[in-house]
């Protein structure tokens, strides 16, 4: 890695003692000796193991649940169903007033995705929990399911989640988050070329080497210590408090070093049910996702569809950009309404375009609920935007890198969401990339600056 100190030296103070120094990491000695304590390194005598009975169907009504055989299985201590959960219908962003509550901790009457948690089994050993889970009998009436976002948005599609009533998240702005800037249709009319293209992704897993989980110890003082690898301690604690209808003062969350997160450990999934299990049995409880659960049950990065329509002039100026983004939330909201909205704030990318129209939708389908991941709401959009940029450049016969210089935002430029650009540095990154990759561009681009005269 090289630090290019020549850029922005006029606005940077480089004579600091500790900042900018490559100090050794304080956690590394623990890592290399195996001494770093992760949540699963807490092990208590008499600890119970929690295994989840999951839906084999994408969408089904639950006619009945029979746990009697499972409860009799040797080693089983407790079997939990929806009626054991004090506040079973929740949504994590309710803490910042993004509702409605739309997800069940344990399925109640319905399952909406294949893999949804239905019954929790607590047993002396993992093996006993697995065997007992296989004895839980759930009678399902299979319902029609919808997997494709466009299908889900059509009239008459099966309703995935009744708490929403329609297969999209309803923002205060309506069926999507909107940005309107300038007159996009006038821009298309003025443009030398108009190009509309569609981009698609599928769900992506965080795949941390350490799976999601927690270990709960009921303490002598009527409190519960939860060793967890959540990425957000109080977010999880406060949601657990709501779900269990338990004062937060009864909860003590201890994190530590987490074995990789990448956004995959911000859902509140394992802690509430494990703490409930500890409360109802008085025993320590361990609930750790198997690798299969981490891969297919834990929330992935959402599949997205992005449609971009651009108007471009022969001289390289983009004069209009319309972006329609669809985020496949799966069956429940989790963080997806937030992510879809983040996309609306990110488009049209780091370019100054006078006419912009953005709609971003959060769509429900019968698949594993998606949620946050590294680059949430932006990563797939950037793929779409930057492939589109390449296509536009080739369409007008311009070098793709020079094309970006022409449109790059600079200090003071007004963004589509009506904030003036501050602290831009895209141009300098492209100049350095031009040098590093031996990809020459015209001298006028190499002479540009993100500092805009008069800005």
């Amino acid at each position: 890695m090289e630090l290019r100190k020549s850029y922005f030296a006029d606005v940077r103070k480089d004579d600091l003692h500790e900042i900018g120094q490559p100090r050794p990491r304080s956690d590394s000695p623990g890592h290399v000796t195996g001494k770093t304590a992760y949540f699963a390194d807490h092990n208590f005598p008499g600890m119970l193991h929690l295994k989840m009975v999951r839906s084999p169907h994408h969408h089904a009504r639950i006619r009945s649940i029979d746990t009697s055989e499972a409860e009799k299985h040797p080693g089983v201590v407790r079997v939990l169903t929806a009626r054991d959960v004090p506040h079973n219908v929740y949504t994590i962003l309710i803490l910042i007033q993004i509702g409605p509550e739309d997800e069940t901790v344990l399925a109640d009457g319905k399952v909406r995705w294949k893999g949804e948690a239905v019954v929790a089994v607590l047993a002396e050993t993992e093996r006993a929990a697995q065997e007992a889970a296989a004895k839980v009998k759930v009678d399902y009436e299979v319902l029609p399911a919808v997997f494709d976002m466009e299908e889900a948005l059509k009239p008459g599609a099966p309703i995935v989640n009744e708490y929403h009533g329609q297969n999209y998240y309803l923002y205060d702005s309506g069926e999507c988050r909107k940005v309107r800037f300038g007159d996009v249709e006038a821009g298309f009319a003025e443009a030398d070329h108009v190009l509309e293209q569609s981009y698609q992704s599928s769900p992506i897993e965080h795949a941390p080497t350490e799976t999601t989980g927690c270990v709960v110890m009921p303490e002598g003082n009527d409190r519960f210590t939860c060793y967890t690898n959540t990425q957000a301690m109080f977010f999880t604690l406060d949601n657990t408090s709501i779900i269990l209808q338990m004062p937060g003062s009864k909860l003590h969350f201890v994190g530590g070093t987490v074995g990789g997160g990448f956004g995959g450990k911000v859902d509140v999934i394992v802690e509430p049910i494990a703490i409930l299990g500890a409360k109802l049995t008085g025993r320590p409880v361990s609930f750790i996702y198997s690798r299969e659960e981490e891969m297919q049950i834990s929330s992935p990065r959402a599949a997205e569809k992005v449609v971009i329509k651009d108007g471009v002039m022969k001289d390289g100026r983009i004069v209009a950009r319309k972006v329609t983004g669809y985020t496949d939330a799966g069956a429940y909201s989790r963080h997806s309404p937030y992510g879809a909205q983040k996309g609306a704030g990110h488009y049209p990318g780091p370019y100054t375009i006078p006419n912009v129209w953005i709609d971003t939708y959060c769509v429900y389908t019968n698949r594993t609920p998606s949620s946050a991941m590294r680059g949430f709401g932006v990563t797939i959009g950037d793929f779409a935007l930057e492939v589109q940029m390449d296509k536009l450049a080739r369409l007008i016969g311009m070098d793709p890198l020079e094309f970006r210089f022409i449109n790059a935002y600079r200090d003071g430029d007004m963004k589509a969401h009506r904030q003036p650009t501050e602290g831009a540095a895209l141009i300098e990154c492209m100049q350095e990339a031009s040098r590093a990759a031996n990809w020459p561009v015209a001298e006028k681009f190499m002479a540009m600056s993100s500092y805009k005269k008069g800005a």
Binding site: M1, Y7, V11, R12, E18, I19, G20, Q21, I96, M149, G174, R177, K178, R180, Y199, S202, I204, E205, A207, T230, Q231, A232, M233, F234, F235, L237, H252, V258, G260, F262, K265, V266, R291, E292, Q296, P300, Q341, K342, H346, P350, A372, R374, G375, F376, V378, T379, D382, F383, L385, E386, V387, M389, D390, H417, R418, G423, A425, L426, C429, A437
Partner: protein, 334 residues
């Protein structure tokens, strides 16, 4: 058979912190009797090195070496609230909270030192080595060790401080979408060079040259760790990763590391990282959040390089050999 070569570019920006703000983080700082400093947080270290960076920020602000600082975090009984480690917010939000707390603690420390040295606190400075000196008269000094002892046992002062950082929440205007998503943005530009086997659709990423502008590299070696790992993940997203390979069909989702594909140690591109620093107005020592954006530009850069190599556009991720081969066959048929 032909191995065909191509290159592609992409340029991106990325917001620092939770979209639309409203995501507070607090920090507490106090000294021990012998002048070591404890930072108390509830932020989570996911491996990116939050604990180390908070120690360096506290040390810089107080004016002591980093190894005089201990960070106690991720315990809800001791650490004040943090929204969480996500949205490239950890360094920015928690760092600012630590600075505020450390400044308050530093002020008390200087006041005690001023009483001991019988000067005004405003005339004092730290040397970064554990000493407090009179500006312009460095021979007149006191160690932080002695200041802390005095504060505890003689003067009854708590060398401590509280920090809270909150960017007020922005609410998007319904019809226009006017809003403030973020206060600062990191930037990147990546050039990728690939080889494509036009009989099998297999892609080899030969080189990626990444330029990242991240505000301030608080610890350059740790920044490098994230940027190198992120660049790998970006290539991985471009070519390999999906939990539903036949999306929207739900069948054949991978359940292990053999089926969920990521580049192995034998698949690594030659990776170059160049870092620029334009300090952000509201970042801790100018830092922005580099953790997420560093994995984004490789994806379109690789996609554009594949087109440059074989002349087919794959607009669906991941860009698998199968998608390329199907496109090449369609291209040949036309």
């Amino acid at each position: 058979m032909a191995i065909r070569r191509g290159r592609g570019v992409a340029a991106i920006n990325y917001p620092t912190g939770m979209n639309l703000g409203g995501d507070p983080t607090q920090a507490l700082v106090h000294s021990t009797p012998t002048g070591n400093f404890m930072v108390t947080l509830s932020s989570v270290d996911l491996g990116q090195g939050m604990k180390q960076i908070m120690a360096q920020i506290c040390a810089e602000t107080i004016g002591v070496p980093t190894d005089h600082v201990v960070v106690d975090t991720a315990d809800t009984d001791t650490g004040p609230h943090c929204m969480g480690t996500f949205a490239s917010r950890g360094t920015h939000r928690a760092g600012n909270a630590v600075i505020q707390a450390a400044k308050e603690a530093r002020q008390v420390m200087l006041e005690v030192a001023a009483e001991e040295l019988e000067v005004n606190a405003s005339d004092l400075e730290t040397d970064g080595q554990g000493n407090i000196l009179v500006k312009g008269a460095p021979q007149k000094s006191i160690s932080i060790f002695d200041v802390a002892l005095s504060a505890h046992f003689k003067r009854g002062r708590s060398i401590s401080g509280r920090g809270m950082f909150l960017i007020p929440r922005s609410y998007p205007e319904k019809e226009t979408g006017a809003m403030k998503p973020s206060t600062c943005y990191a930037h990147a530009c990546t050039v990728a060079e690939v080889e494509v086997d036009d009989e099998t659709g297999e892609v080899t990423v030969l080189t990626v040259k990444n330029v990242f502008e991240i505000g301030r590299a608080l610890n350059p070696k740790m920044v490098e760790q994230q940027l190198v790992g992120g660049s790998w993940m970006g290539i991985s997203h471009a070519l390999y990763e999906t939990t539903e390979p036949y999306y929207p069909n739900r069948d054949h989702g991978g359940t292990d590391f053999n089926q969920y594909l990521m580049p192995g140690p034998g698949d690594l591109a030659e990776t170059e990282i160049i870092v620029l620093e334009r300090p952000s107005a509201d970042g801790p020592y100018g830092a922005k959040g580099p953790g997420e954006m560093c994995a984004n530009p490789q994806i379109p850069a690789v996609a554009n390089a594949v087109f440059d190599a074989v002349g087919v556009r794959i607009d669906t991720l991941p860009i698998t050999p199968e998608r390329i081969l199907r496109a090449l066959k369609a291209q040949a048929a036309n």
